[in-house]
Amino acid sequence: MIETRNLSKQFKLTRQQKKELGNEFAGSTVNAVSGVNFTAHPGRVFSLLGANGAGKTTTLRMLATMLKPTAGTAQICGFDVVTQAVEVRKRLGFLTGSTGLYDRLTASELVKYYADLHGMDKATFEHRRDEIFDRLDMHEFANRRIGKLSTGMRQKVSITRTIIHDPEVVIFDEPTAGLDVVTARSIIQLIRDFRKQGKTVIFSTHIMGEVNLLSDDLAIIHKGKLCYQGTYQEFGEQMTTKSLEDEFIKIVEEAGK
């Protein structure tokens, strides 16, 4: 389970950023995320929607313990992301569309590296690795260097790295960004599998089609603030426009007023 209470993040502006914002902007900080409250439950997929720069990545990075909130709290499986960061990370898998891999390692070496960092014992690791490699059909290229793999193969390695330690919570930050349709579809399928397995899944996107395919719960973030939160079913019932996309734009525009 993921629970956030009044989660906020302020960034100090660099001289260059201040210059870019112009004279009208007087402050030296910017609120990337302000007072965000939501709960993501096990066995459900929570979609975080927002335009580019809305605060999705910052929110997810705070949940993944990479950034420290400037105010508010967030808990993952009951552990605080600031004071119990190590416990949080043990239970967390994090995948982004821009996630990189080590090109000079083989797929097997890379997966082993992350398993070791998660403190997995040899037998558990081997069992889990074989299970995932079977499911994603990875044996053929397991001992090939990652630099020589296709985009689809690389994505499979990335997924394996994310879930090798069988995390209770999986965070996907725009996981299909820049991927071809086939690879993107495999990620969607994986997220569905996680839901079936009872994991808490949170994913950010601005692609409405993915929301339709996956969401149980959703939240829309705009300029760092949540402007909608509810179940996907409720969202559909309250819709006053023809499509999800139009509804999203309507909500964001109203929030911006």
Partner: protein, 397 residues
């Protein structure tokens, strides 16, 4: 500790598979010295050989006949006497390489000798690189001539040849060969230490810092349950290892270069043997370790700060030039290791190396050097660790 070794092992494997690192860490330091020494030796040998074998054309310009001098020249191997040249044309003949040298005797040469005064003789030659051997060969005939004239003078004056000697000086140099040559050779070693320590550390540091950010792997690493300082330590360990390895490989390369250059002069061989003593090697590596740690901390800090591999390279390249300055200062005559210079990073390594190789190291000063190096190594690691936890640095963009 386990996490440190996991990270260290992975980073080491990853680094050793990087072609750029392998070239700067192993190939370059191993090959550069044998190559330089080989080329320099061959070229100078061939130039010396040519100069030694070349037939020298010399001329005597004199109003009187000097059969004794002519005879000496004619007795010389590979030296021919060119006839009738006047002093005015000597310069143009030498420039045109028709002549290699000319001996111009004053008009009163013999008369001055008879009056027991020194005879005046001008020697024309053209000094240029690689021409010293020619000059020496030509001046040898003057030495022989002078020797004969002196003998004649002593006989004429009925004096013993030792009459001209007022002091019979015997120099007793208490410095060992190691001390004499060690300081010269030891002055050169820090160049290798410092440059290759830095070069060897540079690419791994850039790859493990900025490279990790550019690839997008830093985020995945930071979401593992490993303390950030331990992650940094793993990276730091690999950078130190590559830096030290590079410097040691460069020293091996230098040794191989000297060996392949042919016969080593006994004096140099003696110093080399002393450098290769386990005690000296241990002392040198013990200097190298904190120095490389210092570099690793600085390089990782800069690399972590940079957004991309390219930015890191452009930040680090000027530092490469900066670190040479203290090494160069260490070579200035009169700059010695003392309680002040022992505290100046890099310069203290340069000066200590000289003293260690010469076998004249003051161990109180060495302790001061270690203290200074360990302190700055610690500070540079501390600065890297501060940057590694700074969100504005890790997610700078």
């Amino acid at each position: 500790m386990k996490a440190f070794f996991i990270i260290f092992k992975k980073e080491a494997v990853d680094t050793l598979r990087d072609r750029r690192t392998l070239i700067t860490m192993i190939v370059l330091p191993l090959v550069i010295f044998p190559l330089i020494i080989g080329i320099v030796t061959r070229v100078s040998e061939s130039q010396e050989g040519k100069a030694k074998l070349k037939e020298l054309k010399v001329a005597i310009v004199s109003v009187e006949k000097l059969p004794q001098f002519e005879k000496i020249i004619l007795q010389e191997k590979d030296m021919v006497l060119v006839g009738s040249v006047d002093e005015d044309s000597v310069r143009s003949y030498i420039k045109a390489e028709t002549l290699d040298g000319a001996f111009v005797f004053s008009n009163r040469f013999s008369k001055r000798l008879v009056a027991l005064k020194p005879g005046r003789l001008k020697f024309y030659f053209r000094s240029a690189e690689g021409q010293n051997i020619k000059k020496e060969r030509m001046l040898k005939v003057v030495d022989k001539f002078e020797e004969q004239l002196l003998k004649e003078r002593f006989v004429k004056l009925n004096l013993s040849e030792t009459t001209a000697e007022t002091i019979n000086l015997t120099e007793v140099d208490i410095a060992t060969t190691q001390e004499r040559l060690g300081k010269a050779i030891g002055g050169f070693l820090p160049y290798i230490f410092v440059i290759f320590c830095f070069l060897g550390s540079m690419y791994p540091a850039i790859d493990l810092g900025a490279g990790e950010k550019e690839r997008g792997t830093i985020e995945t690493l930071l979401t593992t349950p490993v303390d950030r300082f331990v992650i940094l330590l793993g990276k730091f360990g690999v950078v130190v290892l590559t830096g030290i390895s590079s410097a040691i490989i460069a020293l091996v390369g230098l040794y191989l270069g000297i060996r392949q250059a042919g016969e080593i002069p006994p004096d140099v061989a003696e110093v080399l043997a002393s450098v290769l003593q386990p005690q000296t090697i241990v002392l040198l590596i013990s200097l190298l370790l904190p120095l490389t740690m210092f570099f690793a901390g600085i390089l990782l800090s800069m690399s972590m700060y940079a957004k991309t591999f390219k930015e890191a390279q452009s930040l680090i390249t000027p530092v490469n030039l900066l670190i040479i300055v203290p090494v160069a200062v260490g070579l200035i005559p009169g700059v010695e290791l003392n309680s002040v210079t022992a505290l100046i990073p890099i310069l203290n390594v340069s000066l200590s190396t000289r003293e260690i190789v010469a076998g004249t190291m003051d161990f109180a000063l060495l302790t001061e050097v270690y203290a200074s190096l360990v302190l700055i190594a610690g500070l540079s690691l501390f600065s890297a660790s501060r940057l590694f936890v700074k969100e504005s640095v890790i997610f700078r963009g």
